[in-house]
Structure formats: structure tokens, C-alpha cells
């Protein structure tokens, strides 16, 4: 038996209350506890200065520790970060966020009914994807993670396309090869989602390097959860973006929870994720991720900086994962059930709605009408999607297609295997 000599090691530690010096991060509240978000530092709305987009990193380091907010408690815009969006854009933003939420709710229910195998909602985080897609140019390239469905919605993708992917049916963009939500959209400039975490970070840096090499003014943007910043790929992406001053907007969506792992386990206990950028030599901005206008404004700032040759920016979106990690997760096992109700930055849809109401450009009635319209859109889209096939009924993709795209051209050994599968299928039909 191996025993480590000396005091304070794992061996001599008492159960439950270890005496060793090893620090183990603890979330402030577990199931049954009162939620406690006192660790979330919140600046007053409008309090953070907006520097010139080409400012030196050293001069703007406080952007990483404050919290950029535009909407105040009275739902009005305040301060220098106000992007001064016109009413139409605000209403469109609200529509996209609500569409995203209603799509998510429907697909979650369809998973529960066994119609799709899996789903991941972005409940509570809708502002991140929607505001950012709107602040970036349509030809900017997006490298999403798996909770960015709002990017597709805000770039005008039909719900049928997304639903058919989740159904792995005959209209599935992935041809049945990927689990639900791992979308891609070449013509919409949205990259293919991997199930593996953080891989998109260096890829986005590389895409942006290529844009710079080619002399284009397109930029890239990418997203990662705060938990995945522990992966090496995150640090590769940060390093390459910094070394080559790549025109890329790097986003850490800090939704506090990575399945059961709270943000302290990714290094969030003693510093803000945005601060991490300073070690690499580029700016970090910490933003209220549930404030549509603030997210829009910081994205616009970072995008302009990148386009003008100022290099990368890291944006930390402070938000909360209001739902389970996925349909396979049960958060009541590891966090208080009512935590989201007490999240101090509220709900992104509700906050933009209230802002429009304060402006006199929206009302509860109009909201109900919009929700009804979008529900009908979701329902119609789902019906249309089902007609293209379901997991266990209706039309199916040609099973031989599973051998396509392994390589550009089918090699001999795969042709033989396809023949063997065809033979198995014929036996079945007999």
C-alpha cells in the first residue's frame, strides 16, 4: 500500500471535513439551501465607461472586472454603452429571442414524448446569441457551441431546418449523422457544431487569421461555456488569437453551471473569466449577458476593433443556465430548484420586453399576440418537419448514405462494406 508521508495529505484527512491544504471549490448553494448570488459582482447600469475601440489593453483592464449594463431597473437605457438601436431592431430582437425560447420548449417536450433522442435548450441565455448575431455582419463567420441556437434564428434560418436536424430525417442538414442540435449552415456562415468541447476556439482564431491573410474585413466569432475554458483548446485559441492579432470575437458564456460543475471549478472563484484575456495581452469585457442592449453594444465594440486591426477581444457573458444542461440532466440533484428565480440579472426576454413597453412601443397584449403567432409558427414548422420523417416512422434517409462523406470519394473498402449492408437489408426484406 502506498502511503504518502507527512501531515495534511489525502490519507490523514477526515471524512467530510478534510484538513489538508487542498482547496476544493464549493458553490454557494446546494439543493435545499437558499440560493446565494452575492459572489456575482454587478455594476450599476450605465456606470462603466466606453473606451475608444482602439484603446490599449493596459488602459482598459477594468472592463474585465466591471459589468457592462445598459438597461437599468426602470427598464430604460443609460450610460455610454447604449447602442441606440431603433425600435424596429429592438422588436426584431425580442421576436428572435421569443422564437428561440418557444422552439426550445417545443423540442424539449418532443424529446420527452420520445419523438427526438435528445435536446439542449438555451433557456435564459437567449440574448447572447440573438444580440450578437444582430451586432455582427451576416458575412462574419460564427463558430458556435451547442447552446447557440439563437444564432441560426437571428440569421433567418427556418425552424423546419433545425427541427429536421433534430429528427435525423430526410431533410436533415447532417443527413442523419449527428445527434440533435449539432447544426451547421454553410450559406449562413455558421460552422458545424462538435460534441467535443472547446474545439471551435482555435478554429475560429484560424479562420480569422485566414481572413486577415486574404485581406478581407470579415471577422470570426466563437462561443464556449465557462466550464470548457478548462480545456486546452480554449488556451490554444487564446494564444493564436493573441499572437497573430486575429480579427476574432471570443465569447465565454458564463452561465454558472457546466452540468453539475459550478463556475468555480473552471477558475472563476478568484478572477473573472474576462480577466483571463489580459494574460494573453488583449482586452476582456465582462457584460450582463441577460441585457440584450449591453450584449449588442460590447459585441459591436469588439467587432469594430477586430475589423480595424485591433485584434481579438474576449467577452464574458454573465448569465445563468435556467434549464437542465440537456434532456439527460437533472439539476435538482446539484443546485437549488428555485435558483433561477433569484438570479440577479433577471430574464433576457422579459427585460427587453419591459424596455419596449417603457418606450411605449410594446404592450402585454402585443406580447401575447406575438407569442401566439410564434407558437403557431413552431407548430406549423413541426408538422412540416414530421412529414419529412421521424425516428421510427415515415420516410427515411437512404441507409447507404451513411458511407458518403467519410471521404470525398468512396474508397473500395467502404464500397464493399456498403454492399454487405445492402445484402443485410435484402435479407430483411425477404
Amino acid at each position: 500500500m502506498n502511503v504518502v508521508p507527512g501531515k495534511g495529505n489525502a490519507m490523514t484527512a477526515e471524512r467530510k471535513s478534510p484538513k489538508s491544504r487542498l482547496h476544493v471549490p464549493h458553490p454557494p448553494a446546494r439543493p435545499g439551501d437558499t440560493p446565494d448570488f452575492s459572489y456575482v459582482k454587478i455594476s450599476p447600469a450605465g456606470a462603466v465607461e466606453r473606451p475608444d475601440v482602439m484603446a490599449r489593453t493596459r488602459d482598459i483592464e477594468d472592463l474585465a472586472t466591471q459589468l457592462v449594463r445598459v438597461l437599468n431597473d426602470e427598464h430604460r437605457t443609460v450610460g455610454p454603452w447604449n447602442p441606440h438601436l431603433d425600435v424596429h431592431d429592438l422588436q426584431v430582437g425580442l421576436r428572435y429571442m421569443l422564437t428561440t425560447r418557444l422552439l426550445d420548449d417545443r423540442m424539449q417536450r418532443m424529446q420527452r414524448q420520445g419523438r427526438i433522442s435528445f435536446y439542449m435548450r438555451c433557456f435564459g441565455e437567449e440574448a447572447v446569441s440573438v444580440a450578437q448575431a444582430m451586432a455582427l455582419r451576416p458575412d462574419d463567420m460564427l463558430f458556435p457551441h451547442y447552446r447557440n441556437q439563437g444564432l441560426h434564428i437571428a440569421r433567418g434560418r427556418s425552424l423546419v431546418d433545425l427541427m429536421c436536424q433534430c429528427l435525423s430525417n430526410t431533410r436533415d442538414m447532417c443527413k442523419g449523422r449527428q445527434m440533435p442540435v449539432f447544426y451547421h449552415w454553410r450559406s449562413g456562415n455558421i460552422f458545424s457544431i462538435s460534441g467535443n468541447l472547446a474545439t471551435q476556439f482555435p478554429q475560429a482564431a484560424g479562420w480569422a487569421m485566414a481572413a486577415a491573410i486574404k485581406g478581407e474585413d470579415r471577422i470570426a466569432s466563437t462561443w464556449i461555456g465557462e466550464g470548457s475554458t478548462a480545456e486546452a483548446d480554449y488556451h490554444y485559441g487564446m494564444t493564436f488569437a493573441a499572437v497573430y492579432q486575429a480579427p476574432v470575437v471570443l465569447n465565454v458564456v458564463n452561465n454558472q453551471w457546466a452540468i453539475s460543475t459550478f463556475q468555480g471549478f473552471a477558475g472563476g472563484e478568484r478572477r473573472d473569466f474576462a480577466e483571463g484575456a489580459h494574460g494573453y495581452g488583449f482586452p476582456g469585457i465582462r457584460v450582463d449577458g441577460n441585457d440584450f442592449l449591453a450584449v449588442y453594444a460590447v459585441t459591436q465594440w469588439a467587432a469594430e476593433r477586430a475589423r480595424r486591426g485591433g485584434g481579438p477581444t474576449l467577452i464574458e457573458h454573465v448569465t445563468y443556465r435556467a434549464g437542465p444542461h440537456s434532456t439527460s440532466d437533472d439539476p435538482s440533484r446539484y443546485r437549488p430548484k428555485d435558483e433561477y428565480k433569484l438570479w440577479p440579472l433577471g430574464d433576457p426576454v422579459e427585460r427587453l420586453k419591459q424596455h419596449l413597453i417603457v418606450l411605449g412601443e410594446w404592450s402585454e397584449d402585443r406580447h401575447v399576440v406575438l407569442a401566439k403567432e410564434l407558437e403557431a409558427y413552431v407548430t406549423d414548422s413541426w408538422k412540416e418537419s414530421l412529414a419529412a420523417g421521424q425516428m421510427n416512422e415515415g420516410p427515411r434517409l437512404d441507409r447507404n448514405s451513411m458511407f458518403d462523406d467519410v471521404f470525398k470519394e468512396l474508397p473500395e473498402h467502404l464500397r464493399k462494406q456498403r454492399e454487405q449492408l445492402e445484402h443485410e437489408g435484402q435479407e430483411e426484406d425477404k
Binding site: 502506498n2 504518502v4 433522442s117 435525423s168 447532417c174 449523422r177 445527434m179 478548462a230 434517409l397 451513411m402
Partner: protein, 338 residues
Amino acid sequence: MAQMNMIQALNSAMDAMLGRDPSVVLLGQDIGYFGGVFRVTDGLQRKYGEHRVLDAPIAEGGIVGAAIGMGVNGLRPVAEIQFADYVYPAFDQIVSELARLRYRSAGEFHAPVTVRMPTGGGIRGGQTHSQSPEGIFTHISGIKVVMPSNPYDAKGLLISAIEDDDPVVFFEPKRIYNGPFDGDPNKPAVPWNAHPKGEVPENYFKVPLCKAEIVRPGNDVTVIAYGTMVHVVEAAVRITGVDAEIIDVRTLVPLDVETLVESVRKTSRCVIVHEATRFSGFGAELSATVQEECFWYLEAPIQRVTGWDTPYPHAFEWEYFPGQKRIANALRAVMEAR
């Protein structure tokens, strides 16, 4: 003895080891407070404290790298990779470090690390939750590779793996966590308590590494398999009525060549089955070994039954999976060959 499914058996193995050896520590994502996404480590942090069962950041390379450091400093770490599909960020730490540490330091350093990971498909996991990468690891010199096919072996082999002073990569076929699966997805799930190997001693016991098991004795053909495929092979043998000798490899490296060779010399025919892709898969190694040792005894070419050489497709899981029919075809082919 108790009735256990594979999850409970693995949990019981780690419980036994944490209890008897204070140098054993577990680390991995979501394994502590939450008890693991498949519940394999449920309750162990509560019982042994959070310095013995550590929640880890999402960093597979970090988990294995830290486990190596702990191992060098006298602990006996059991690292969990949440899905085998996510082991690749840790690949360098496993291949270049863990596997070679003893060799490159001429025996002065070693790290007795066990790396556990759920593996295999049939759970609608698509290309990122279904892979069987065991063949990649069997190609590396310096690590042992284990894959149990039932709760009894899962517990006994995991205890052996943890106690082993060499690094072990321990694959857990997740399709059979809750019950043996015969390859027919339309049949209702069968729990482990209806299976003799669902009977598992509650206390410490070992199943030796490097020892294959004859699951079904027979005379006409030797079928070599491991993990989930052992159960699919049993079903395929039943439907074909062939008197097959089924061997569960259990430890892929170091391989129990003797048991395989003895069987094939008796039956003169051999079918090799695994769920992983075919090309350069572990089946190729098995086939080469059997050919080298049994060439003059063989009555027919050795057959391999495997997943196709494509990524695991979400929509065509059962067309991809080497099910009863594909195995039965191979059994018939090898029996008909002259």
C-alpha cells in the same frame, strides 16, 4: 452475494478500494457531488470526502496529467473520462506520458493510474457519444486495456486494474450498464438481475487481468468478442444453432493468447466480433495472432464482424451496429467454407 447492475458493481469496486486503500483517489468531471453522469460514483464523495473523490475541471488532459502526478506522489488515482469519445484531449498524456513513464525513467518512476471511460454505441449518441476507441489504445505499448462484459467481471476487473501497478485503460460498455443487450433494440430491456453474472460479491474480490473467459463451450467454431458484443454473439449463436465456443477476451492487453489458441485448435474455425470500426481495429490483431498460432488447424478463413469504417451515424445506429444478423452471416460463412 448481491444483485448488481454494472453501474452498481463498478461503484462497489471503487467503494471497496477507497475503503481498504487510503492511497486510492477518484477524479473526474461531475463524479463527486453529483455522482457521475451515469451515477457510477454515486455516494462515494459523501462517504469518503472530497479529498478522496475529486470533482475536476472539464479538461481531460488535465485530469490524466494530474492523475499521473498524483500517482508519482504515492497515490493510486482512478480517473474518469465522461465518455470515451472525449478522451482525445488526454491522448498525449496517456500515450506519451502515462504509458512510457516507467520505461523512460528505467523503472524509477511509475504512475499506477486507472483511466475509466464509458464506451460504445446503441444509445442514440451519434458520433460523439458512441465510439469504441479501444483499438487505438491497444496499439500503445505500456498500458493495459480492459473491457468487462458483465457486473461480476466489472467489479473484479476494476479492483484488479486499480491494484495493478501499471496504467490501465478501463472501458465500460455503457449499453450494458443496466442490463445485458443482445443486439435487438426492439426487444424490451432485460435487467442484470436475470443474469447469473448479475450476482456480485459485496466485498473485495478480484477477477485477474490478462485472463479470457470461455462464456459458452462449443466444438464447431470459436467466436472471440468482448464487452457488449459478448451478449450479441450469444444471441446470434442461438439463432444459428451453431455449436460455437464463445470467448470473452476481457483483457485486450496483455492478451490471453493461450485460451484463444487452445480453442481455435479445437474448433478449427474462428469469428472475431467487435463494435469498433474494422480497419486496423483490435480484430485485426486477434486475427493475425490466431492465424500465426493456428494456421495449420484452420478449416476456413477467419471472419471479422465489426462496425463499418464510418463515424457512428445517429440515424443509422442499427444499420451500423454489428448485430445478430451480421454475426450470424459470418457464422454461416465460416461453417460453409471448405
